[in-house]
Amino acid sequence: MTQALIYALTGAVLFMLGVRATLLRETLLPRLLALNVCGAGVFLIFVSLAYRGDSLPVDPVPHALVLTGLVVAISATALALALNRRLREMADE
């Protein structure tokens, strides 16, 4: 069992936990958190994919992908939070 595989499996587990929580939680905030956990799992998998053995340099492509993915995840989360705030404001009014 290689290190990379462990990382990948951990990523997969995180992903599944995230999915479960996203689908089952009622309120938005936990769901958003779960989604981010999900994303972390996926990124973990990507990062573990970059490993090509000790002798070779790591594959740069997955890293690039993860970076892009992170940007997307952050902006999406921000949007969701903004929306949530707006909803609360409306509820208060």
Binding site: A8, A12, F15, G18, V19, T22, L23, L28, R31, L32, L35, C38, G39, G41, V42, I45, F46, L49, V61, P62, L65, T68, G69, V72, A73, S75, A76, L79, A80, L83, N84, R86, L87, M90, A91
Partner: protein, 484 residues
Amino acid sequence: MNNPLIWPVAVPLLSALLALLWPRRSTWIGLLGSALSLAAVVLVSRQVIESGAIELALGGWSPGLGIALRADGLSVLMLLMSTLVSMAVAVYASVYFSRSERRSEFWVLWLLLITALHALFLSGDLFNLYVTLELLGLSAVVLACLGGSRESLQAALNYLVLGLLASMAFLIGVALIYAGYGTLDMAALAAAIESGPTAWVALSLMTGGLLIKSALFPLHFWLPPAHSNAPAPVSAVLSALVVKAAVYLILRLWLALFDEVVTQTAALVLGLLGGVAVLWGSWVALQAERLKLMAAYSTVAQVGYLFLFLPLLAALPEGTTRDVALGALVLLALTHGFAKSAFFLAAGVIMQRAGHDRIAELGGTARALPVTAFTLALAGVALIGLPPSGSFLAKWQLLSSVFITGQWIWLPVIAVGTLLAGAYTFRLLGYAFAPGEGVGPSLSVGREEIPAVLLALAATLLLGFWASVVWELVPISAYAGGGG
């Protein structure tokens, strides 16, 4: 620049930036941007028709490293639909949002949405697909909350969360593919992918994500609230184009990339879900009390039809009959795109005039808004699948495939679905043509009514009589693996 492939993406993107910088002129920028991207798409289409699939490696990096854009028959058709529909909707929106303070926000997001769509249809790389999918989802969500009501915000939020989840699933599929084959370039993958655990796990994850986005029963629950609460132009694009983007991706994956992996059983499962979607969506649409809700459920049903094709395509041998069926699928998607956007725009006109869209109170629409009523009727014709609409031809070919493959179970589904579609359409028309005062006094034809009727005419006449273009284009494929 003799390769026009960049323009359909670049033009709306640049316009979006421009609109952001110059909000007071955003309407004109939006319209101009839509028109120019239409021109760009036409340019691309001409080249594809003349010389087959074309490819562009952005920044000079070869595919595999850089970002590849590819256009083949399927992408060109989708591009054409999206750009034509968005052009018409833009004209409508210019009236709809003319006095709204959110005008400039709308146009920026709108142009971003078009950018995302075009990039998605042209992308030749799995990861780029993910990015465009996210971009599309995010801009769509923001557009959907422009209505500002509580319901629309709630629905948009749900839409966002589910969309993110779907993208995650898609992304993990991408990761698996990269792990298995070391490349994300679709042309390379089309040749490389073989049946195996990696492939099928990846495919099922990606498909699962896309099924959410394409709102296939039973994952459709987010769609009706989101689509029915958005502002009319947004609903039109959401139902007509955004959903189609996900379906397009499924087609690409199933037919071009994973054609070796796809099994008959898997296709049958999706087909069955599609069948249930047809029946359920139509049934709920028949019960709907609000016009836009009805339209949204009708979208659920129509997406179901598209999935009915999958088991048939899987069973058909590669060759002409399969290409015919695939063309029918695309034609159905296109017709639905035009018809549904027309339908939503007409609903928007009615809502603005009457202040509500309760079906039972629409009496007098035909007298007060004859053109809009006519639009609803034409769009309804296309939704039912009556001639001369494109969906009639598509349904004909669908039935034909059913008979060829001997998969008789789809026959009652199609039959009942058609009858139900007829029922909900004519229920609506019955109210619309009944006498009444629900809509207010008669006025002359407004500018906002024209785009809708043109879209509806495109769905019924253009796609009916010039549908053979679809079948000419569909076999032009950029991917060696299959007919897509």
